[in-house]
């Protein structure tokens, strides 16, 4: 079973929930798809033993063949090429690796060369994997795609998604059996939760909610969920103790055995929903 953990915004405890869930399930693979700021490793402390470069293909011009006709730049939708006075300029960071320019070139004057945009790192049995986007690179999708390719098909998998609700999240949640949306009881939290709910509904995925930092103000989330018949799977209380443990890279379940049990129960609840 593949479970994706997301939130409209980061900072709601998405990583805490995914890492805690992973640690409460036996034989579970953990995949950190938040490749701009991967944090799961801080809590799970994996011993990284494999490092794979993530390569993308970008075009290069064979100068002898190029006539400077400009067809390539005309085909490119991402402003990553320009033809100025018969010279082709390529801006590799903006390239989406689509190959349109190559198809468009009438002279066969282009080839593709590999370029590294980040890495995927795993521990020895690949029960932990994360990706890292190189600083200054705008496009992270290929790293997420590579991580998703390495997902084990049989066992249980927890996927820690990037924040937000754009294309990177879509790529991360694709093919998942269930989504956990993590939120907190503030107007900001509610607003972002609503966006995340829209997204998973649009993608036709089943989902439930974990309410983090629950307090006497949880009402705003409870009402929202009641109105829409959305399941709150679990609540994690607001406490300075949990925040302090988090700051040291300690998961709340390590400090609180009951909480660990609750995560296990939540997993079984999700299992029941998915298999039903």
């Amino acid at each position: 079973m593949k479970i994706a953990v997301l939130s409209g915004k980061g900072g709601t405890g998405k990583t805490t929930v995914s890492a805690s869930l992973k640690s409460s399930i036996e034989n579970c693979q953990y995949i950190d798809c938040d490749v701009e700021e991967p944090n799961g490793g801080i809590f799970l402390q994996p011993e990284i033993s494999n490092v794979y470069p993530v390569m993308v293909k970008v075009p290069e011009i064979i100068k002898d063949k190029c006539t400077g006709c400009g067809e390539c730049a005309k085909a490119c939708q991402f402003n990553s090429m320009a033809v100025v006075k018969g010279n082709v300029l390529i801006f590799p960071e903006l390239c989406h690796h689509c190959g349109a320019c190559i198809l468009a070139c009438p002279e066969d004057a282009m080839i593709e060369v590999e370029r590294q945009i980040g890495v995927v790192e795993t521990n020895s049995d690949e029960s932990f994997m994360h990706g890292k986007l190189n600083v200054g690179e705008p496009i992270s999708i290929p790293i997420i795609a590579m991580l998703k390719d390495m997902v084990k098909d049989d066992g249980n998998v927890v996927i820690d998604c990037p924040p937000g609700s754009s294309c990177t999240v879509v790529e991360s949640v694709e093919d998942c059996d269930f989504c956990i949306l993590v939120t907190e009881p503030t107007p900001f939290g509610l607003h972002d939760l609503n966006i995340a709910v829209e997204l998973v509904k649009k993608l036709g995925l089943s989902f439930g909610i974990v309410l983090n930092k629950a307090s006497e103000n949880s009402k705003i989330i409870n009402e929202y969920c009641d109105d829409r018949n959305i399941d709150i799977l679990m609540e994690i209380p607001f406490s300075r103790k949990i925040a302090e443990a988090y700051s040291k890279g300690i998961l709340p379940i390590e400090a609180d055995a009951d909480l660990k049990k609750e995560f296990g129960e939540m997993f079984r609840k999700i299992e029941g929903k998915v298999l039903a």
Partner: protein
């Protein structure tokens, strides 16, 4: 007009609270919420005279089935798996890259602009304010960020500052939030993950040669890491301009749609003032 972007490796570090508070304290400024995935600032502001524009930031491939001979070439060239076996386009996967259009031997394909969100500019008690929303799951958040910044600039009316609430992360939308700004303020909190995120956003600012300042929120939550952060900043030449204590009252205020400035939290107000003075002093040098 000078532009200052407030960013954080991740959301939830208090970035929006800081921007909302700055927008109340700083005079003579405009504010732009560039967190287009999950814009929040407008929740705290009362907007008047809102002007709104549709945003078409993406294109999608379309097929004219009258011309299509189902040769499958388009499917083979598409690198995003957006064309099915029976030659139907999956809009959620299509990047609008044009490869299929170029490759189709029948000229049966074309790209169409699609609406992927909106931008708006409005008047608020705290000056002109712009924000935007990207459709859920849409491509091109970076481009929309650029669009928000483009939309607000013509409204300039002698303002000295544009304060930008940036997106989380280090990818395309953050790059679009900070490109061409005069300075960034990185908001962080003293957690292990906060430290790792902070290093990455500071690297990013450096990569683009933009002066960066640091504000540590909830600094007393873990003094060891706060000290480590300060040491890191000194070593790397970044100035820590503000430290805000962990205060459940700030969260409480937010729950009532109020900033700590609204609730008259003097300690907080003083800290924000001092933070802003340090940044502006540096920039006027």
């Amino acid at each position: 007009m000078k532009q200052i972007a407030v960013i954080s490796g991740k959301g939830g570090t208090g970035k929006s609270t800081l921007v909302a508070s700055l927008s109340q304290i700083v005079n003579n400024k405009m504010t732009a919420d560039c967190d287009v995935d999950a814009p929040n600032l407008h929740l705290l502001l009362e907007e008047k005279d809102q002007q709104k524009w549709d945003y078409s930031g993406a294109k999608e491939a379309r097929i004219n089935y009258d011309l299509c001979i189902k040769c499958g070439i388009c499917k083979d060239v598409c690198r995003f798996g957006a064309i099915t076996e029976d030659i139907v386009i999956n809009n959620l996967k299509c990047e609008g890259c044009n490869a299929c259009v170029v490759a189709c031997p029948q000229d049966a394909m074309y790209l169409e602009e699609v609406n992927t969100g909106w931008t708006s500019v409005s008047t608020t008690e705290n000056g002109t304010f712009a924000h935007a929303l990207l459709d859920t799951g849409a491509e091109g958040s970076g481009k929309l960020v650029t669009e928000v910044r483009k939309k607000i600039v013509p409204f300039e009316n002698g303002e000295e500052w544009l304060i930008i609430d940036g997106s989380p992360g280090i990818g395309c939308s953050v790059i679009a939030s900070i490109t061409g700004t005069d300075a960034v303020i990185a908001v962080t909190e003293p957690t292990k993950s906060g430290l790792s995120d902070l290093k990455r956003v500071l690297d990013l600012a450096k990569h683009f040669s933009i002066p960066a300042f640091v504000c540590i929120n909830k600094f007393d939550l873990n003094m060891d890491i706060t000290n480590e952060m300060e040491k890191y900043c000194v070593e790397k030449g970044f100035m820590v301009v503000g430290k805000i204590p962990f205060d459940p009252l700030i969260v409480k205020a937010l729950q009532e749609y109020k900033t700590p400035v609204d609730t008259g939290d003097q300690e907080f107000i003083d800290e924000i003032n001092s933070l802003w003075n340090k940044v502006t002093e540096y920039l006027s040098q």
